[in-house]
Each structure stands twice: as C-alpha cells, then as structure tokens.
Assembly symmetry: C2
Homo-oligomer: 149 residues x 2
C-alpha cells in the first residue's frame, strides 16, 4: 500500500465515501467534486441502497453538488476510473480534470475522456484496488450489473 | 409537420412525456425504454422540477425502468438526440438501439454512439424540433445549463 501521506487529501475523502457506501451494503466507489481547493459535492455509489441503476458514485456526487454553474474549473475525484455514463457526464459538462484512485479493476472510459481533452490522473492506489477486488470477488453479479455486463 | 400516423407509437409516448415535462415547468424532452414491443420505462427531463442536474430525460427513464437485467434487446426512444451523459449510459449498458425525434436543435453524441456500434435512428420530426426551438428561445439560460454550456 502506498504511503497515505502522499495521497491527495481529496482522494482520501473519495475513499471515505466509498467506505461509507460499503458500510451501507453498497458498491465501494466514492467521489468528490472540487473547485478552488474546496469540496463542493460528494457522493458514493447508491445503486443497491436506492435501487437506482444510474446512481453511480460520480453521478451521486454531481447531483449532490447541485447547480454549480460552469464546471470548467472543477476537478472530479473518483476511487475508480469512471465508466461511460460518468465519463459522459464529465465530457458533457466540461469538467476539466478527473483524478482516479485506480483503473486496474475496471478500465472505464479513460480513452474517451482523453479524446475529449479531459485531463485524467490515475493515482493507481493499492487501497482502492483492494477495496474493489474484495467486493467483486464477494459479489460478482452485483458488480457486473453495475457496469452493464 | 410530418403525418403523425407514420410516427412510431413509442415516439408518440416519448413526445407525451416531453409535453408532461413542459407542463411542469421543465425542459420538454421525453424518453421511453422498450423491450419486446412493450414500454418498460418512461421519463422526462426533471432538472428544473427536482433541481437535479443529472435528471435528463433518458436518465429519468432508465431510473424508472429499474433493474431490468440485460439491456441488449432494449430500444431507447428520446425526443432529442442524447447528450454525452445519456449516450454514455446507452454505451455503458449496451442498449442496442436508439430512436430519436430530432437532432436539429442539438447534435448530441450521435457519432460517439455510432462508434460504439449503437444503431441510431433519427426520425427528424418537426414536432420535436418545434417544441425545443420554442423552449430554447424562451429560456436560453436554462437550456445552456442543461447541456453544460
């Protein structure tokens, strides 16, 4: 596991959201939206909790952020590389930058976002990988449903 | 205006959803999800009504459809060409086919969906164009916010 001191403080908040989701019986993916060094929205995957197929972590975070005006100077943090639904939101709303915890357990829509000039930073954290690996191993069907497999 | 008799019955339901949204003070975009010739979900843009930035018509429709299992044999109808958020949902969940009312007022993510092997049929209906044109003219800032401009 990488030294937590070098993990971006906002990623630690996204990880805290993921753990909250897990404690509720949900899929451990968390997200925060940051502008000018402040968190303006936070959320986690609530698919199972709310029986809502679109409640991926990033979507929950963006809903909770509310009507923030322009997204051009925002950074979206997610413990996992966004899927096409969430990457689609990033591209549509012109979110400038995405910081992810990992993409080893799910490749997501990285290329799609890069092709649309989104800056994507992958911290590749063992902590995030371990959380997803454990969940996928224990609940493979819930995970496959989450990503439309 | 094209002869309504030749408009797909499901598109008429999507248009009815759009009109319902308009009557609530919302953006007139409607959507239905169809499988085996039956509507299994329906919805409309509720951004304004629910102050929910992610409640585009297609997302509302997919939430309302619930956990339907595989989307491979589903067709998503929308009165307007889906944006990247909604096109992202189509691609992520492997929805096979999208039928839209028009793309004259908004080009959306047509190329992105086509590039991901989604069949996209554009009915190019004056009825849908007129509904959007009127709304955009009356409420340009609400529309621009809806598409992240």
């Amino acid at each position: 596991m990488k030294d937590r001191r070098i993990i971006d403080a906002f990623m630690l908040e996204a990880i805290a959201e993921a753990r909250k989701g897990l404690s509720e019986g949900g899929i451990p993916i968390g997200s925060v939206l940051v502008r000018d060094g402040k968190i303006i929205g936070r959320g986690h995957n609530r698919r199972i909790q709310e029986n809502n197929t679109m409640k991926h972590a990033e979507i929950d975070c963006l809903i909770n952020a509310g009507r923030v005006g322009s997204y051009r100077n925002t950074v979206l943090y997610s413990t996992l590389m966004p899927c096409y639904l969430c990457g689609g939101a990033v591209v549509q709303f012109n979110i400038s930058k995405v910081v992810v915890g990992e993409s080893r357990t799910f490749p997501g829509s990285e290329k799609f976002m890069l092709d649309h000039s989104v800056e994507v930073i992958n911290l590749d954290l063992d902590e995030c990988v371990d959380m997803m690996k454990k969940f996928i191993k224990e609940y493979p069907s819930l995970w496959n449903e989450d990503i439309g497999k």
